[in-house]
Symmetry: none
Subunit: 212 residues, 4 copies
């Protein structure tokens, strides 16, 4: 446990530096100076610089994976939009809270290693696929207009990424507000037009009746 705590401490310091300077410009000296440990000690806890970074990356990706929940259909489940909204809020909350990790993921996590690069690409790929599956389902259910769901999914993911980036930069704190705008944009982008002409409540009703 002691060991894990020590690791965690170093990770915490390293995170800030990676976020600020990126992987390549950050060197071991920076990290050990900040973490106030000796050079050799670093290698007691991490195999090497890459290993440390990998762990940090795994942390964000895992956190994100946990917060992006698959849409559940069923009589006792909240309606899909509510579920999307919850996903989005959880993701935004994480990323605005963990600005450093966000920064690493969105800005600095590329160009080291085939492996790490691939891991991130893979993560996004899975997210896109998950969105795409939801959209396909939505089409089947008559909620989503027919379209190239792969592209639509990319648009949605990209939109979220960029908004998060901007929100982090602008140090926005109004997660709910931001989430709502993104959700609106995304839904209108894919929803069947008929569902949008009326007011929001009506649309919600339709959605619920569709899923229940």
């Amino acid at each position: 446990m002691e060991r894990a705590a020590r690791r965690e401490q170093v990770l915490r310091h390293a995170k800030r530096i990676f976020a600020r300077k990126g992987y390549h410009r950050t060197n071991i000296s920076d990290i050990i100076a900040r973490a106030k440990i000796a050079r050799g000690t670093f290698y007691l806890y991490f195999e090497n610089k890459r290993d440390l970074f990998e762990e940090l990356l795994a942390q964000v990706l895992n956190e994100l994976r946990m917060r992006i929940q698959r849409l559940r259909l069923g009589p006792d489940e909240p309606n899909p939009i509510e579920q999307l909204r919850a996903n989005l809020r959880r993701v935004l909350a994480l990323m605005l809270e963990e600005r450093e990790l966000t920064d690493i993921l969105l800005n600095h996590a590329t160009g080291f290693d085939r492996d790490l690069d691939a891991r991130i690409a893979d993560f996004y790929e899975r997210v896109i696929e998950q969105i795409q599956r939801s959209l396909d389902l939505g089409i089947t259910m008559g909620l989503v207009r027919p379209c190239d769901t792969r592209i639509a999914a990319s648009c949605i993911l990209g939109g979220i990424k960029e908004v998060v980036l901007q929100a982090v930069r602008a140090r926005r704190r109004d997660i709910a507000q931001v989430a709502e705008e993104v959700l609106d944009f995304g839904l209108r982008g894919v929803a069947r037009p008929e569902l949008l002409s009326g007011d929001r409540a009506a649309a919600a009703t339709t959605l619920n009746s569709g899923t229940n």
Copy 2:
């Protein structure tokens, strides 16, 4: 002219390597080996690695800037959606054609230098602002639903970035198709619902009547 040609040749080779390995993993040796020039020759044409990269970056950014044209209103101008479509197609065409530069811009262009990082951030910021201004105008003209146009603009930019990224990876060639999907998604995301309920032709008419 000779000189410019030589530079161009080196740039061309370097571009491919940067695209494949990223800035940090690319070293001068890679570049000169590929370009089949001597070490010293490299420094005859470029101050250093950064200088070369900077030029490559400037190239993409300039190309992109030229292809993203401000929306023009007026009796003799094509309707706004057509202009958006043209912008999008030009951008997509460039990026799918210049895969290497795209890759550099979307994947590897971060974490060198405060200066270079800032240059890219600045470029995107300007694009977002341009989109936002268009949206604001659209609201005034009754074409765009009221919303946080800053966020919507981010969504649009992010969507395009991600779609381009995926398209480059998938080696898609159907630019027009991709452009149409993105356009659809973006428009529906921001358009006033009333305009979307009908068929597309109707919407187009409305738009034209709005601008003419």
Copy 3:
């Protein structure tokens, strides 16, 4: 302390090489090979080659400064000539003992850096000024003949420099002897005293009658 010892060790080795090959022809590889340390180790103790050299230079200049003591007048002080003799002996002793540093100072210490060059020029300038002040005092006290003391001071410094250079080359060990000759020369010049006691015309006559 450990650190200081290591530095000292490297300095000692570097000193010999600089003395033999001069600053420019000496490279880091020479130094680390001789000192039997790794390349990186060198940079642990010195910022760069210049930094190392600067320290060596500072060493000689400081040693010299300490050995050149200002003439003290007073009832309890040794007579001025004795003080000059002591200065001269201390300087000669140092330089014949530290042949390498002497070599560096007299032969190789020029043409690196405006800064280092200036430091040496400044040292010599101060020595000249100190000698000049002594001469001026000597004139006031009636011990020194009226003359351009600036030029005389330069002659004295130059004479000492050249003698040291020759003595180091010839590996002379008889410091006291050398010091005495230099002192004599400085005090009396080379002419036979008789020729100097009278007036100039008389001396000239003697000289002519001697040669004709």
Copy 4:
């Protein structure tokens, strides 16, 4: 002849740069830029950088050799002191006129090459020997006090070198004046003649009574 003129032109430009920056900090680019010739042209006239420098050095040394004339004894010759004075004036005139060459010889001509270094050392050695022979002759003739003529010769050479150095720095123009002071110093030292005519003990007494 054309060729020789061209060489001369390049030499003239190179001289100034070598004087200002020294051998090592001067590069071919500096020289060809100043001489307004192409890089390849340089190598048409000189084998390499060292060759050029060697020639410059040979120039000064030859000029100096020509101006330092062996003392001639004989009924029709001017008296020895007059000959020394003439030598000194010729040397000073050259060096104050050719400041650049002087600078090179006194400050920058060391630490390239065993060969060049040796050439300069050899030149000075010969000058010292020549002075020494004159002094030896002077002793035989009863004009010079018995002393270690080798050391005295070094003192004289060193004095001249330093005075020239200072004179060049101070941009002095009064050659005759400077020559006279140096000559005086060399012949008479700095002590008041009265102190030297008597025996040493007496002089010491005088000195002590002066300070106590």
